[in-house]
């Protein structure tokens, strides 16, 4: 058998993976190794595979993903801080046939936008909500978020998040289990927690995101909510590879992966 060369392999007919055509040519502004890029790629792949790019409207948050609209070749609105689900609600109510998704971080979705998040889920809007949780405020420089782990050092918890003072007086509070909370609401159809730190995680995450969009397309109601436990290596102050490791060791015990709710039924663990 003749020796096979790289040139033989690198041929158009052998291409098995490239980034989605639904991503623009603009390079992501995200830090090296940031999970936002991976999640963007997955969403673009799913929208491309579903063939709904000409009827999709995305809603970007305030935070690191504020300019997500630069990267997706679909129509986009940039919402006020925390209001993406409210904005998506408006769009979906006006255009029920459009495929509408919101994209938010934990500061946006679980802090300033908690009200919009809870009420959108409680109303059971037929939208897809993507929630990227890295337990910190990324864009503003690493301040404590509601999702910050106990003991985690941030710019506003320089000595570590301490839910209560030693004398029991309330202090920083506890990590907010927003996804569990939303799963309890009757308006959520599909609630799942995923990650993108490994190839296996990415494959699972893509299945979940695809389901979250398919559900929206096939049904008339019920929020399809996908949390992605992600990294913020810059503000966690570690390398991307170390951050992914740290995520598995520290984030996942608090935010375990898997479906929490499917077809309006809570999944018992």
């Amino acid at each position: 058998m003749a020796e096979i060369t790289l040139q033989d392999i690198i041929q158009p007919e052998n291409l098995v993976y490239e980034k989605s055509k639904l991503l623009t040519e603009k390079p992501f502004h995200y830090c090296p190794g940031c999970g936002h890029g991976t999640v963007h790629r997955i969403i673009a792949e799913v929208l491309e595979e579903l063939g709904v790019d000409d009827r999709t409207i995305g809603v970007s948050p305030v935070g690191c993903a504020v300019m997500a609209y630069d990267y997706f070749d679909v129509d986009f609105v940039e919402a006020a801080h925390g209001r993406a689900p409210a904005c998506a609600t408006g769009i979906k109510r006006v255009w029920p046939d459009k495929v509408v998704f919101s994209y938010q971080g934990d500061g946006d979705l679980a802090a300033i936008g908690t009200c919009e998040t809870i009420h959108t889920c409680n109303r059971g809007e037929n939208i897809t909500m993507i929630f990227v949780n890295n337990g910190i405020y990324g864009m503003t420089g690493g301040q404590m978020a509601p999702t910050t782990l106990v003991g985690m050092k941030t710019a506003t918890t320089p000595y570590g998040r301490m839910p209560q003072w030693p004398d029991g007086t309330p202090n920083n509070g506890f990590p907010l289990q927003i996804t569990q909370l939303l799963a309890q609401l009757p308006g959520t159809r599909y609630v799942t927690r995923q990650a993108v730190f490994s190839a296996a995680a990415v494959r699972n995450c893509k299945k979940a995101i695809k389901k979250a969009f398919q559900n929206q397309i096939e049904n008339k109601n019920g929020v399809n909510f996908v949390e992605i436990v992600s990294n913020c290596n810059s503000n966690w102050k570690m390398s991307a590879v170390d951050a992914n490791k740290w995520l598995q060791d520290n984030m996942l015990p608090v935010y375990p992966l898997g479906d929490l709710k499917d077809n309006f039924e809570l999944i018992k663990k």
């Binding site: 623009t24 790019d53 000409d54 009827r55 999709t56 409207i57 970007s60 504020v66 300019m67 609209y69 630069d70 997706f72 070749d73 679909v74 129509d75 986009f76 609105v77 940039e78 919402a79 006020a80 801080h81 925390g82 209001r83 769009i91 255009w95 459009k98 495929v99 500061g107 802090a111 300033i112 908690t114 009200c115 405020y137 864009m139 503003t140 420089g141 301040q143 404590m144 509601p146 710019a155 506003t156 918890t157 320089p158 003072w165 007086t169 202090n171 920083n172």
Partner: protein, 337 residues
Amino acid sequence: MGELKLMKGNEALAEAAIRCGADAYFGYPITPQSEVIEYLSEQNPYERTGMVVLQSSSPGVCLKQEGLAYIAGAEVPCVFADVVRGGPGLGTIQPSQADYFQNTKGGGNGDYRNIVLAPASVQEMADFVPLGFELAFKYRMAVCILSDGAIGQMMEKVVLPEQKARLTEEEIKAKYPWALTGRKRGTQHRVITSLDLDSARMEEHNRHLQRKYDEVTKNEVRYEMIDCDDAEYVFVAYGSSARIAQKSVQLGRAAGLKVGLLRPITLWPYPTQAIRNLIDKGVKGFLSVELSCGQMIEDVLLACNGRAKAEHFGRVGGIIHTPEEVLEAMKKQIIGE
């Protein structure tokens, strides 16, 4: 002399807050003020003074005004109504016109304007909705219908506008190509945003907005004049105050006073030129009649620019002035005994 230190403004603010014995700070990280909460967290004021620092989010101080600033920046049309009650804060549920500043001067951030329509009747409450939408879509900006508890609660006859069919998606695509309906294949995707970090583009965007506002100012000023042809003294009043002032004009005329009424219908753009024209025709003084402590008077004074006397009269707290006391104020404050 106090302690001399080199600090950032944000830090100095935070430190001063601790030092003046503030009870609490409820913060939210937003560049460029994140240092305030970072500084406070680092300083542990809870231990220093018992000051509580909560890393908590406020849903936003401005609520609707926040959205309006975004709408102005992103140039999205919208109509909203403010049926004003007394303030500040919870104030009272009684009628008021004290949100004049908030709506005509902008309550959100940035250099922007909203068109403000002031209905003085139930009829106008109805009429200004289609007018509002027309203007909102013509200029791609927010239009405020600034009403008050009196106009909002009262019952009157009203001729309603005809039922129009909702625009179809195809009509929307044809009329408003900027509207997001899903990106047509082979065309550029569209984005509705108020954000642009490129300074040159953002300056041009602001200039563009100002040119648009100039255009609105040129084309859309609306007002009504009652008995102003030979008037020497003119009430300026909008909304429910205008209804009262109209009676004051009648009472004044019956008493032989040459009084008239200018009723601004658009509070922004303001009928500045109408006031100047009246001065040119010989009007000597204006009384701004408002259910507030003197807000619109500032626009009347700007219009007068020192060429005619102008003062404010108004009752607040839910009390509505009577035609008699309005006329009395005109006599005392403007005409003189």
